[in-house]
């Protein structure tokens, strides 16, 4: 309710300021013989910005400190002997009761006399402070409004000032990207460092046993060896690439070199549908369809394949990556100059010979870059592996067995638990940092290769 009133008052102030600046600027324009620098809208906006900032600052200050001041006021209203009789929990309960009384909602049961009087006092205190804040904001806004209005003259460069403000706002928005990166790196690094105060980094990076003791007490936290997770991640990524690279690359070659126009117009968006499907859907598909199918197929030929295994997760993840590989490869194949292709045809090469001997070698660096980008996507993929990889963090080389990956372990260690006191949850950040560094390196390397290649023909 209060915030609605404040928002309404701010809007009124804003409208008033704009109108007053606008009419002042308008008045200048009608005077004859004077050239006005800015149009009336800019004078209006200029005054509005001036009026809004101090009012916002005062309300912001109250929002920041107001709760603390109110709290102190309530405590000061409770008799000293009553405070001494209460522990922290009881005090908080009393404060909550006083607030309920002040709001007019009332409390269940009997009300102590001092609670009633404190509630009444709080009620008038809240009313008075509210009035003070609103009045202060209004006065500050109006003073600023009058000041800004007094500065408006024919030569006043209101437009430049407003545009500078817009520019600053735009710059601040782009700063969000930097803040996000800073936030990611800072949170990962600080929490990972906290983790390394519990566990030796050497044990983490080179340990071969992953067995976090989730119910562990101090001193018995279990082992946090990264290698089994890394091995699982790499195995699934490898399988995914074995599926996605041939299919994606051949699809790109066919679509860009052979396919008739109509087929290309239909097939390309259809394949790209795969890229838009949420990964949880792929995970479900892997879990209920692909996994059981692979198990049964394995039984037929005498192989024992687990329904949730590196193979299942890898194949489905490969399917997910196909459109990524194919559209990147398509772009890169299209960038190879026509003259190279025509030269090969002129020498009598068939289409496939041209593709294999001329196009692919010329596009190779770019395609490798695209594959690396696909790899980094596979390394960071979570939901498919959470559902379909089986979560068995043991070092083994058999793709038919369950594995665990870095992302799965992050989810397992951090889900629903945000009490970052022990290594059990902090390890999630060490794993996240590892994942971040791996994918960052892959991306930078891939972009480097792709960019390097592009320069060759431009």
């Amino acid at each position: 309710m209060n915030s609605l009133i404040i928002a309404g008052l701010l809007l009124v102030l804003l409208g008033l300021a704009y109108q007053s600046g606008w009419s002042r600027g308008r008045g200048l324009a009608t005077a004859d013989g004077v050239k006005v620098h800015s149009r009336p809208q800019y004078h209006g906006s200029y005054v509005a910005i001036w009026a809004l900032l101090p009012a916002l600052a005062i309300i912001g200050l109250w929002g920041w400190f107001g709760d603390g001041i109110t709290h102190n006021f309530i405590v000061s209203q409770i008799p000293v002997d009553a405070i001494q009789a209460l522990d922290q929990v009881g005090l908080n309960a009393t404060i909550a009761r006083i607030k309920a009384l002040a709001s007019g909602y009332g409390v269940a049961g009997d009300v102590l006399p001092y609670e009633q009087s404190a509630g009444d006092a709080l009620r008038s205190f809240q009313f008075i402070t509210f009035l003070i804040v609103v009045a202060a904001a209004a006065v500050a806004g109006i003073v600023a409004l009058l000041y800004a209005r007094s500065r408006i003259t024919a030569r006043h460069r209101a437009r430049n000032a407003v545009e500078r403000a817009i520019n600053l706002l735009l710059l601040a928005c782009s700063g969000v990207a930097i803040l996000t990166t800073v936030g990611i790196v800072a949170s990962l690094v600080t929490e990972a460092l906290k983790f390394f105060t519990f566990i030796n980094p050497l044990d983490f990076f080179f340990g071969t046993v992953w067995n976090p003791n989730n119910a562990g007490t101090a001193g018995n936290w279990g082992s946090y060896g990264l290698l089994p997770l890394l091995a699982g991640t790499l195995m699934i990524t490898l399988i995914a690439m074995l599926v996605a690279v041939p299919v994606g690359l051949m699809a790109a070659i066919y679509l860009s070199q052979y396919a008739p126009r109509q087929l290309r117009a239909v097939a390309k968006p259809l394949i790209e549908i795969l890229a838009g499907i949420p990964t949880i859907v792929f995970g479900f598909f892997a879990l209920v369809t692909v996994g059981p199918f692979l198990r049964d197929a394995g039984n037929l030929i005498g192989l024992s394949i687990n329904a949730t295994s590196a193979l299942t997760a890898g194949i489905v993840m490969g399917i997910m990556i196909i459109p990524f590989v194919s559209s990147l490869s398509d772009d890169i194949l299209n960038q190879v100059p026509r003259t190279l292709r025509d030269g090969a045809y002129g020498l009598g090469a068939t289409k496939s010979e041209t593709i294999r001997n001329v196009l692919l070698p010329a596009a190779l660096p770019g395609i490798v870059g695209a594959f690396l980008l696909a790899v980094s996507r596979a390394v960071g993929e979570t939901m498919i592996v959470v559902l379909a990889a089986g979560n068995s963090p043991v070092l083994r080389g058999n793709p038919f067995e369950p594995v665990a990956t870095i992302t799965v372990s992050i989810v397992n260690q951090l889900t629903g638990d945000t009490d970052f006191a022990g290594p059990q949850s902090l390890v999630g950040f060490a794993l996240g940092l590892t994942l971040f560094v791996i994918t960052l390196c892959l991306n930078i390397f891939a972009l480097f290769i792709v960019r390097r290649f592009r320069e060759q023909y431009e």
Binding site: G106, T180, S187, M250, I319, P323, G380, L387
Partner: protein
Amino acid sequence: MTDMLSTTQPSDERTRLIRASLARRHLSEAIFRGLGLAAIILALGFVALLFTDIVRKGIPAFTQSNLHLSVTFDPAVIDVDPAPVRTADQSEADFRAASLKWQRDVAMLNWNKVIEASLRAAAPAGFDIDTRQLLTIAETDARHRVRELFVNDPSLLGQTVQVDVLASANADNWIKGNINRDLGDAQQQLAAPARALIDQFEANGTITSGFAWSIFTNVDSRAAPASAGLLGAFVGTLWMMMVVILLAVPIGVASAIYLEEFAPKSRLTDLIEVNINNLAAVPSIVFGLLGAAVFINYMHLPISAPIVGGLVLTLMTLPTIIIATRGALLGVSPALRQAALGMGASKTQMVFHHVLPVTFPSILTATILGVAHALGETAPLLLIGMKAFVAAVPATPLDQATALPVQIYLWQGNENRNFFEPRTAAAIMVLLLVMIMLNGVAIYLRSKLEKRA
């Protein structure tokens, strides 16, 4: 010279060799081409397989078995004081406490007995079944439904009304034939008399199948699987989308405008550029770690709340929107800019009055695609506690909630696989439908834009 002469001179031997190799080369051409076609067919086959599989699995979940019971509010069973009425000198809190106490008293009554009586009334005369087995036919929340009817209208006491309740998940499975009917008693979820009674009910019309509206109108439920619905998750997703649209779109478009139109070439803007490109490639789960550490652990925003999910998804979507918007701005012809500047517009006026309106449709398209992508994201939401079981529709973005993809994750993990596998697939169909609709809107806008250009 003689060498050249000899090679250019056609000889029978050479022609024969070339002819022979030609067949081989054409064969390898055909093979290569065939491989390409096979790759396309394989990729399209995956798309088709995925969709048909999900649809085939999900369709059965859209029908559900309903029990039509005539429920008697028997005063002998419903033995409770009349509902409290607020008196003049009572404070709001006291009245709330009194009516809560009354509702607790009502809840303590043996509502199962009411359900049992109406089930027995519907059964053929003389059918022998014990109470526990009988109650497994109706959904466990049937008693909550009947109780709620009474709480809302205490005057029902002593009356008999027609009430439709859901059949239990196991009964539903039995009717749909999801369970092999020939399995032995030990492997059946339902006891033999209960199974027989269900068949009787089906024959006499007490149980009918209907469209499963409850999927859309109910919230998730653990105790009563048959009534578990998507409404809570759907509303949670809507709240998150609202946060994403309100934050990611203005901030993303503003940063793209700054970088593309105003930014001087400086260390700072280079840094921003590199950052944005890197952020676009950071795995989504890392954003979840950021959310858990910064928004929840440091800023103490409420855990499991759509506002935190929305913030995390906003940060994730920002790079996509920025990159797409920059592309759109880059595509505006320089003539437009120069004309605006030539007419005396300032740079800001040029951007906001001339360039931006032209790019508006393609920015909108990119935004919708970015939001659609964020809509399907699951992993980061798990880390900020949106995996918690929530049995209420979130009224504000600060309430506990879950989201559609997370609901799918929760349902696929449910122990009652027979019942929840179709239901998970149905939830996926809803999610995919929403995404397809969003993409459809984006494609429509794009084609409209292309026509104008």
